[in-house]
Amino acid sequence: MADPAPAILVRRLSKSFGRRAVLRHIDWQVAEGQAVVVTGANGSGKTTLLACLASLLRPTSGEVFWFGHPAAGDPAARRLVGMVAHDHRLYPHLTLQENLIFAARMYGVAWPRRRAEQLLESAGLGPHAHRTPPTLSQGMRQRAAVLRALVHDPPILLLDEPFAGLDADGGEWLAGRLQELRALGRTLCLVLHDEAKARRLADAVVQLRDGRLESRGTVSGPCLAGLARAA
């Protein structure tokens, strides 16, 4: 039987902004169920890489595949991916519940209201369901942003510094949630600078340097030695 397609497959991916090459000929793959941390210095292109993986940026050259589906192809394939970015992507004049219901409807989730309520309760945001994002703390908004990315239960989750803005409780909640997702076989790709969190959450670490990805090995090995330095 043929090997299953990797969750994320990147072929000769390059991305330039004008003359500035941010990503150069990256070949990479992430197996289904794997959790990978991407690290690198500020401005090294981590966010650009995640945006290309999410199909939000069109690569200058090269391709991205999700489970064998071209990321730049059928919009329906976007169901395979969820993303937590720097900004929370919540509409300021809709309540948290309405934001999640709207996202669920966009993804064609079967019972949008029930799904939104379930997610909000799971994150301790049930009592705040009818508040709008500007009236919430940054930590609450960040939790809601994570819920928005999870609303359609994507098999691939891309997270760009997801712990930013979370307090200790929030960080613990998110780490627990990500461990649950790993246990469920979801594929995670995280941009992180925190060695302890990377050790807890990831199977492997890769580093972006000069637009190229360098493997730093598995978390159980000495790969994390350069993580704090890179950050």
Partner: protein
């Protein structure tokens, strides 16, 4: 994407935008206020015999709709850019065509609300018989509305996509919309006079052609326009 799914998503984007606008009151009140000010100004300056008033009223009404409608067209994408919501929407399994059509529908509703206020206001202030033939006026208003909204939606997305061109929508839209505004003004003038002969049909067909053309161009180019 199957048609019912696309229609459902289109409807929910429309719902989201209308609910957001009702709560934020960012674009529509300013649009209506500007329209009313322009209507008062034009009506106050039209110290002309009734026949002359009829000749210029169509153009002034459509100029007022164009100027005030610009505010709603400009806001339709600018609001989406807050908090990265636009990226969130683009990540959804929705075709860019559906997003364009949903935004077009929102702008059509905004311009219809504007026309619903401005046309009766012109009638009251200047006494010109804009509503003497309501069915014809409704047809011209609907076609002019779609033509303006289709061009404005595409160019609004283009203007909102760049920090440097965020306020350039009027400059971008004006040359594209002028032929449609002229056609609407002429069709309105002839409809007021009850002249539904060949010239009225020609202007109305031209207006319909602009509506179809701008919508088609919008659907075709939207994907390129929203590329970061």
């Amino acid at each position: 994407m199957a048609f019912p799914h696309m229609t459902a998503r289109l409807w929910w984007i429309l719902w989201k935008d209308l609910v957001s606008e009702c709560r934020s009151r960012r674009a529509w009140p300013a649009m209506l206020l500007l329209g009313i000010v322009v209507a008062f100004t034009f009506a106050g300056q039209m110290d002309l015999p009734p026949d002359e008033q009829k000749r210029v009223a169509g153009g002034l009404v459509w100029l007022a709709i164009f100027l005030a409608g610009m505010l709603a067209l400009e806001r339709s994408f600018a609001s989406e850019r807050e908090n990265g919501c636009w990226q969130g929407l683009r990540l959804c399994p929705v075709s860019s065509h559906a997003i364009y059509l949903a935004k077009l529908a929102v702008n059509v509703v905004a311009l219809a609300a504007l026309e619903g206020v401005l046309i009766p206001l012109f009638v009251v202030l200047s006494g010109v018989p804009l509503l003497a033939h309501p069915a014809a006026m409704l047809l011209v208003a609907a076609l002019g509305n779609v033509a303006l909204a289709a061009a404005g939606t595409l160019l609004g997305a283009l203007a909102a996509g760049s920090r440097n061109t965020a306020h350039l929508l009027p400059l971008l839209l004006l040359p594209m919309a002028v032929p449609a505004v002229l056609a609407a003004a002429e069709a309105t003038r002839l409809a007021m006079d009850g002249q539904f002969g060949t010239p009225w049909w020609q202007w109305t067909e031209l207006l319909a052609a602009f509506a179809v053309l701008f919508t088609t161009i919008g659907i075709m180019l939207f994907d390129f326009v929203i590329e970061e």
